[in-house]
Symmetry: C2
Subunit: 119 residues, 2 copies
DNA sequence: CTCGGTTATATCCACAGGGACACAACGCCT
DNA sequence: AGGCGTTGTGTCCCTGTGGATATAACCGAG
């Protein structure tokens, strides 16, 4: 039952798509305080991580990630209030989908081969 | 408001992912009665269309698409009852998500730049 | 018995996306 | 002043995903 994963992407015009990758990256930055550290942890090249951040910051009214260069630890990055809000919205959206969609998802799942839900 | 599109993919184990591409293809086959016609219409190579069909048929207990070769019109394909059911479940799932998720989606959307929602 | 249009399948190849790598800029701390 | 670790940016190259293409099998219609 729990090997069913949902991936949900939002497309706003052609400007931005927000999905699992960006969400995880935001969370990683929030936890690690660093773009590169978050990228390493999720096995994403720094270039890619940085591109995603830039894309988000460009698409939203105020940036979701603030970064600083230099300093004691070389620099770092952290989520803005807006960044945390967007991430929270996305997380809650996924929860809602998992709940309200369970019937339809179950309907599809029931027709799958290999009904190893026993146990 | 309506330029927000939702793409939702379901992953069952590592066996199958069902998403917009396969759903549209199923619908196309249902309407056209042909894999190649459906593929052409949605600008998908026959190879790709056929691969998707094979993947689905292999993953589900009973095939979603039945196909025949030869005959008056060369052959054709049509959805099984199971295929129509899966497609219907997926469509309804998307509707449910759009409804129950509108609050959270709106929350994200509100923070986007270029607030051109004024008509 | 050939024609037509489709399913089914294999081979080859172009191309974009992303990774690896290199390097500059930055600023605090010792 | 120099070092450190990060952000920021460019360049090259590899890979694998899918497109293009070719061909066989199929079968009723005319």
């Amino acid at each position: 039952m729990e090997d069913t994963r949902i991936r949900l992407r939002l497309y706003f015009g052609k400007r931005l798509m927000f999905g699992p990758g960006k969400a995880d990256l935001l969370q990683g930055i929030d936890e690690d305080g660093s773009i590169s550290a978050a990228g390493r942890r999720m096995k994403m090249s720094y270039k890619r991580a940085w591109m995603l951040v830039e894309e988000m910051n460009a698409a939203f009214g105020e940036p979701l990630v603030e970064s600083t260069r230099g300093g004691p630890k070389g620099g770092g990055a952290r989520l803005t209030e807006s960044g945390r809000a967007v991430l929270a919205h996305y997380r809650r959206l996924l929860e809602t989908v998992a709940e309200t969609g369970s019937a339809e998802i179950g309907g599809i799942r029931a027709r799958l081969k290999d009904v190893n839900d026993g146990k």
